[in-house]
């Protein structure tokens, strides 16, 4: 009898060694986000980089050599005001095709949501509350003299200026800061909450989001690279203009299940 009990005990123990089966298939799903890029209606990937083949709204011919940007604070809102927050931030590196598809670390409860929102960049709490070793390792920091925190976007390349010279540009988005008085920095929020709209979530799904890169140079501020092509991090007005132009950069192109 003792041996049978021991056999039963060890058999149970053995079964406990196996990994748990999917024990929560009913309530939660995983949501992925896939980012594509375009110049107006023309798809853009890193294979299109490094050659002057785009024309911005102001008429400058230009190239893209580097594009990376930060997405954070993805959350799912219900009509009753309930918000399901997810954790994590994602540095999308188009130059190296890294993180073009990612999944928030938090499972999403099935249900009807009135809006899905992500933040382009960091909100102020996330920007300053802690140091992120992954972003530090990617040299994504903003200098302390500009308030610290992190970049929102680095878009770089070349354009043909009004003297017909190929010139570099560095369109770097950060939190707008007026540092004319270094002891009294004045800020204006320039992170962007991108709303993807309502969704009914019943199974695993992927949100397909497109960034129209041309929009950064178009609306409402017609961007003149001849006057605004570098040293834009400490340029308060340029940062506000980037924020304004960024309002319609992102769009939901579809949801796949």
């Amino acid at each position: 009898m003792k041996n049978i009990l021991a056999l039963t005990f060890f058999t149970l123990l053995c079964f406990s060694c196996t990994e748990d089966a999917d024990d929560n298939t009913s309530e939660n799903v995983s949501a992925a986000f896939k980012f594509t890029h375009s110049w107006n209606d023309t798809p853009v990937t890193n294979t299109d980089f490094n050659s002057i083949q785009f024309t911005n709204a102001n008429g400058e011919e230009m190239s893209i050599e580097k594009l990376r940007y930060l997405v954070s604070n993805i959350r799912f809102e219900k009509a009753n005001g309930e918000i399901h927050n997810t954790s994590g931030h994602f540095l999308i590196d188009v130059t190296n095709a890294v993180n073009l598809v990612f999944q928030p670390y938090t499972p999403i409860p099935k249900g009807e949501y009135s809006n899905v929102i992500f933040t382009f960049g960091f909100n102020n709490e996330d920007n300053y509350s802690e140091t992120y070793t992954d972003l530090n390792s990617a040299s994504w920091n903003v200098p302390d003299m500009l308030g610290g925190g992190y970049h929102y976007m680095q878009l770089e390349g070349k354009f043909i200026d009004n003297t017909n010279t190929v010139t570099g540009y560095a369109y770097h988005a950060i939190r707008a800061v007026d540092n004319s008085d270094p002891d009294n920095l004045l800020f204006q929020d320039t992170f962007i909450n991108v709303e993807l709209g309502p969704v009914s979530i019943t199974k695993d799904l992927t949100f397909n989001v497109n960034m129209n890169i041309a929009e950064w140079f178009k609306n409402p501020n017609l961007w003149d690279l001849n006057t605004l092509h570098n040293m834009m991090m400490p340029n308060f007005n340029a940062q506000v203009m980037m924020f304004q132009n960024g309002q319609n950069v992102f769009s939901l192109t579809g949801i796949t299940e």
């Binding site: 041996n3 060890f10 040299s139 010279t165 570099g168 570098n230 400490p234």
Partner: protein, 354 residues
Amino acid sequence: MKKRIVYVVLAFCLSCSNEPTDRNTYVPTSNPLEIPQVFEDHIIPPVIPLNNPQTVEGVALGKKLFFDPILSADHTQACAACHNPENAFTDPARFSVGIDGSIGTRNSMPLFNMAWNYDEKFFWDGRVFSLEHQALEPVINPIEMNNTWETVVTRLQQHTEYPQLFQEAFGASPITKELATKALAQFQRTLISSNSKFDKHLLGEATLTAQEANGLNIFMDETKGDCFHCHGNPNNPLWTDNIFHNNGLDATFSDLGFGEVSGDPADNGKFKSPSLRNLAFTAPYMHDGRFNTLEEVINHYSEGLQDSPTIDPLMKKVNEGGVQLSIQDKADLKAFLLSLSDPSFINNPAFNNQ
């Protein structure tokens, strides 16, 4: 019979654990890297291959190999011949001289903090992936050690000490070039530099002078030096992005650099950003050692830029030659850069041939 079934089930259950099945398998002494506080606080962990963990015996073997001219064809040159510890493991000569007097075209790279090269692309042009593979090259390079690995392995097998050292480091496996480079990589990963004055400043143990502090501001100011986009910042104390850039050295290229490796003309003239640590010991500067002093380096970025199709967009005011720093700004920037040097690194007995 029932008792026998119980024992079988018990044995099966025990097999669920992660214990090694062969308890006689030799395991060298684990010797994990000691992560410096300034790295622990700010950046992600180093890259240690799963198939080459740090061990006491592996590091010791790697160190012995690093300083042993047995690797070169005529027994005259060790790795340390071109990677001198006193110079933060680079060569004070612009171009190193190989065993037969051949001279290369690039300056020997300094060696430190290589475990934090996250993309694992090594050499100025990134042509080799992983530290283990990097170590294969100099031995067989005709203008360096000009040897063959077959010869090296034979010498090591016939040596009075190495067979025992390899056995202690890797068990009973036969000596191979892969094991030799694993040992070299283990030693090189221990070459950690993290004790500069600026590191101490980050830890609250030192105070920058006014000149050094102003130099940091110039380094971090996008309207002045704007060095930080490629060379790190106080939150990335590697002081490099380990990425390939054309920093405006030449209008045309005799050395394509990363472009030769990638095959993409858009990469022509790009070389890896070197770390700014230990500049006090690593002259001459740039991939081809063209600048003998830090003043020359700073002058290059201030007024010496040469335009070319692949020049990095971050190189500003190219048509003016650069960012036009004042004499005082240049002096302050130099003072800050020197605060990143770490005398304890070049004097560390663990890294010297003792």
